[in-house]
Structures are given as C-alpha cells and as structure tokens.
C-alpha cells in the first residue's frame, strides 16, 4: 500500500495524502506530500480514529481544487458521502484507500477503536444506560422510567461541545447549540434534555454512526445510541440511510414536494400513537 501511495503522490494523482504516522509515541493524523516521500514509509493505519474526512473538508475549503487521498474505513466513507451531499466537499476531491475496519471472518484483522470495550465507571455500570445497547432495548412502555434514565445520563453533560466539534458531519458555521435564544448560556448542565434533543434532531438524516461523539464525551453519555434511534425513525419513514450512497437527503429538498412519509406503524416504533 505504501508503494502505491508513493507512486500516486509522485504522479500527482493526489496533492496530499491523509493517513496516520507514529509521532511522539502516538499514532497521529499526518499529511503526506510528494516533497517528503520518505515519510510514506512510516504510514500506518491506527486503531485510534480521527475524523480524517473532516480534516479533508477543512483543507479543501482552505485550498479549493486540491486533490486529497485518504485512508478510509467504512465510517469515513459514509461521512464523505454525507459531506458531498451537503455541499461541504466537491465530489471527486477525495479519493479513498480502504482500510480494514469492522471485524468479519472474511477479513484478516480489524482495526477500530470501537471494538475495544470502553472503560466504564462503576456507577454508570450499575445504574446507567449501557452505551453498547440497541434502540430496541428501550421499547418498554414504562415511559416515565425511560425518561428518568435518559435524564440521569444527560445531567452529567458538561457542555464541552466535544460531540459537535468532533462529529465529521457537523459543519454549520452558526450552530443552534450556541444560539443564546435557543439554549440558555451560563448553566451547567445545559438545559437538559433540550440540548441533547436539539443535537439529536440535527443528526437525523446526517449521523453516519461512527461513534466519535461517544468517544469524545467526557461524561459517557450514550450519544450513539440516541442518534441511532433517531436515524431508525428516519429510515422507517423515508427509507433513507445516511452515507450509504450519494442520494440526496430527504431533509435537503427545499421548495419541492417532499416524499410522502408513511404513517408511523402502531407497534415497534416507540412513538406515541
């Protein structure tokens, strides 16, 4: 793979290549260029995951017309699709080199930070929501109980904006979460649950389920689970999975008649009927 990357850089197929390299004892994202080709010998694909596609979008915004090559896992590729759909990246700016990611018997080896069991604190293990669970585990009718459990999780929020800052598909210049008239400033925790629900609604049709938000949350709030539920609803109604293709999102159609949503089925949707 390294030899191919070197060739591509030399030929000018890419202007830069985004991958990882060991520096100061850490696997860090690195920009490989033709002028320093020998660095490509140190190219690795680490299991620490950084949102390389977000870096690519920022670089392309600073230097339009640049051609970027990138190491990509499945989640990176989904994020690239979503960024292209929402006009943050010109299609064709980024070319991906696939990396072993999620485990399968058909692949040798898998590298993903999500595969390691997270270190969960004692209290959270006892009473908190298991971050690795599925939305289906919350289908019980005890609405008050469910609400209390979620509120217990949200109340730990320290409003670091880590979930939003690291999200590869969050790109708004003016974020609703920072709007003083929507979210009152100066409170810790921020107004719960509205802070997290605003973010969840904005992730509908955009979240690509990479899990970086949960990895970045200092309070271990089960964000990925929450956004999975929201996107399950999107999938049920609009039959749309973010990042699966370059198909336009149902939320991006302005002015035209949106596709007819199907009525929510009575059972199994988790919503009120």
């Amino acid at each position: 793979m390294k030899a191919e990357v070197k060739t591509w850089l030399q030929e000018g197929r890419f202007d830069i290549f985004l991958g990882y390299r060991m520096m100061a004892g850490h696997a860090l994202p690195h920009v490989f260029v033709k002028d320093r080709l020998q660095e490509v010998d140190e190219l690795i694909s680490a299991d620490a995951r950084y949102p390389l596609e977000k870096f690519a979008a920022r670089i392309a915004a600073a230097q339009p017309g640049i051609k970027i090559g990138m190491l990509a896992r499945d989640c990176n590729k989904r994020a690239l699709n979503v960024l292209s759909i929402w006009n943050q990246l010109e299609p064709g700016t980024v070319e991906t080199v696939d990396v072993n990611c999620c485990p399968s018997n058909l692949k040798d080896g898998a590298e993903c930070s999500y595969l390691k069991a997270p270190k969960t604190g004692f209290h959270k293990k006892q009473v908190g929501i298991d971050n690795q669970s599925d939305p289906e585990d919350f289908e019980s009718n005890d609405q008050q109980g469910r609400f209390t459990r979620w509120m217990n999780e949200f109340q730990r929020c320290i409003k670091c904006y880590g979930c939003r800052n690291i999200c590869p598909v969050c790109f708004c210049q003016e974020c609703s979460l920072e709007h003083p008239e929507l979210i009152k400033t100066g409170d810790l925790p921020p107004e719960v649950p509205i802070f997290h629900l605003v973010r969840a609604v904005h992730m509908a049709g955009r979240c690509i389920d990479c899990g970086l938000c949960e990895e970045a949350c200092p309070a271990d709030i089960p964000l990925r689970l929450l956004y999975r539920k929201v996107n399950q609803i999107v999938c049920d109604i609009f039959d749309y999975r973010p990042g699966s293709s370059l198909e336009q999102s149902p939320f991006s159609i302005l002015g035209e008649t949106p596709p007819e949503p199907e009525p929510l089925k009575a059972a199994g949707s988790g919503g009120r009927e």
Partner: protein, 135 residues
C-alpha cells in the same frame, strides 16, 4: 499550503490533557483531543477544545502595561518591574506586609508556584498565599 498535525499539552489547568493542533501555514486553526493520551483518552473540556482561539486572540498580552491616567500604556519590562516594586514597598510601609496577597494558579509550573510563594513569604513577609482552585 502546509498542513501539519502537532501534538501538545493543554496549558489551561493542572490536568494537562493531550491535544492535537491543526496547523495550516504555521497558524493554529483547530484543536482536537489526542485519542491515545493517557490523561484524557480522547476527551477535552470546552476550554481545551478552544485553545486555537485563545492562542490567536488579539486580547493576548504581549508586553507589560501600566495604567496611567486611566489608560493602559505599553512600557518596558524594567519600567514595569520598577513601578511594581515601588508600589509594593509603599503599600508595605503604609499598611504592613499582610496587606498583600499572592494568588498562584494551575496554569503555572510547580517551579513558578514555588517562586511565587517564596516571594510572598521571604520578600514581602506575608503568609497570604492561596490558589485559584480554592476560590
């Protein structure tokens, strides 16, 4: 255009979380947590996430300033130290050494904190030394 990702340590409090700076053309334009750092393990507080704004802020002090006539005026280090020493001596003479308090902080190194408390106790002659975390 030169893009680099430079690892560093957050200077904001005593925890010392690992951060990764996105440096474009020699200027810090973005901050990310270091995912493999043992202290923070890929998480940051809001101050750490915004280091790039603090570093490049126009409000950063670049040199000593003295307030004269209600306005802050840029002066040399010698002048600033001279004025400070005069005012300290004058205050100690008028109100005694315990009228001065020294506040240290987690942003400084242990060595600087040591010097500050030594200065308070040996030079000024007061026990009034405290830390921002206790406030």
């Amino acid at each position: 255009m030169e893009v680099k990702y430079v690892p560093s340590v957050c200077s904001y409090c005593g925890t010392g979380c690992g951060v990764l700076f996105e440096v474009i053309d020699g200027k810090i334009t973005g901050t990310l947590p270091l995912k493999t750092h043992p202290v923070n393990e890929g998480r940051l507080c809001i101050k750490g996430w915004n280091l790039h704004e603090y570093v490049n802020s126009f409000m950063r002090l670049k040199g000593p300033l003295i307030k004269t006539g209600g306005r802050l005026r840029r002066v040399s280090w010698d002048q600033a130290i001279q004025v400070t020493a005069e005012r300290f001596s004058e205050t100690i003479a008028r109100c005694g050494p315990d009228s001065i308090g020294v506040l240290v902080s987690a942003k400084m190194t242990n060595e600087e904190n040591y010097i500050a408390q030594k200065f308070a106790r040996a030079v000024i002659g007061t026990n009034n030394v405290d830390h921002c975390a206790r406030l």
